[in-house]
Homo-oligomer: 194 residues x 2
């Protein structure tokens, strides 16, 4: 049967947000279309009324995830006390909460190596999404020139992603907290000094 335009938009949205979470939680290769569609409450055959292919969904899910987490970071920065924006961003990124919730967290830490393995065409699209993310963070970055700020962001976020990713490997919650704490101190000192 036919459904209303609103109905379709709602399901499209559900598939996208479910995939964005599932990919980050399980990895793109381990997270199947069938599983995603089941969570949405549809049969997997219906998937192709919404997306061209799984690869297509993957890139859109990455886009969605980067948009949401980027927005989250901007919110954190904006609600921080005067001059503490970047510190707040770093502390949020390297929080225990972020480490324990990969499904709603940073794409870099959840899917980094997978992104690196994608064909160049896909990596170009992803690079553009990462660029947009950096652009949002730029206003909260110290530095004299625009280029200097960008360089710092290109260093800070991948570094933090690496720490977060490896903290997630640790089976010991206390150790994990300790690593994150030390990393927060370090990155705040190096990037948000003052």
């Amino acid at each position: 049967m036919r459904y209303s335009l609103e109905h379709k938009a709602q399901n499209h949205e559900k598939i996208l947000s479910t995939a964005a979470r599932s990919f980050r939680e399980r990895g793109g290769d381990t997270s199947g279309i069938g599983t995603v569609m089941k969570k949405v409450g549809l049969k997997k055959g219906g998937f192709y009324r919404h997306f061209k292919s799984k690869d297509d969904l993957f890139v859109e899910a990455v886009a969605r995830a980067l948009d949401e987490t980027g927005r989250g970071m901007v919110e954190v920065a904006k609600s921080a006390p005067e001059g503490q924006a970047l510190r707040a961003v770093i502390e949020r990124y390297l929080s225990v909460g972020h480490a324990n919730s990969p499904g709603t967290g940073c794409v870099r830490a959840a899917l980094g190596p997978e992104l690196a393995r994608k064909p160049v065409a896909v990596r170009k699209r992803i690079e553009a999404l990462l660029e947009a993310y950096r652009e949002r963070i730029l206003p909260f970055m110290p530095g004299r020139t625009r280029g200097e700020k960008q360089a710092k962001i290109r260093l800070l976020f991948p570094s933090m992603a690496g720490v977060l990713m490896m903290a997630r490997v640790s089976p010991d919650a206390q150790r994990r907290e300790q690593i994150l704490m030390e990393a927060r101190e370090f990155f705040v000192k190096c990037f948000a000094a003052g």
Copy 2:
């Protein structure tokens, strides 16, 4: 037919080293036993005379990879000029060569999120392997106490892994080089100052 003990040891070794490379290049989920065995020159059925399961191979391959890259880092450190050991390690880790050869490179940057998704039992084994890696690097780390040195290593390597991993996402070779160069400067300044 039966084969000599030496013959078996050789094939075991071949499977392990081929898997260690293949997993890092393609990811553990995307790299099948069939593919690995074909590269070795055997049929996939023969795999189970050498390993209990794919999971078993995965952990052993990670162990092998960490051992080899750890040894490589120690070699780099030892052949560096007086007082330049850690600088040499950082420069090797964040080299273009390392970025372009994930198959022979650091497990963290190639498989990090995948490791984080493994069950606790597996993560405990991997944590022990990472601990052994850190232990090897320890002598080249500045710091007053053993704990201080360990803390620095736990921060430095995951951070570098994140940068390397994200540099690999960049489709532009020049941009990739630039990021790595800036990161080398940064980490040398912060960890191997002097």
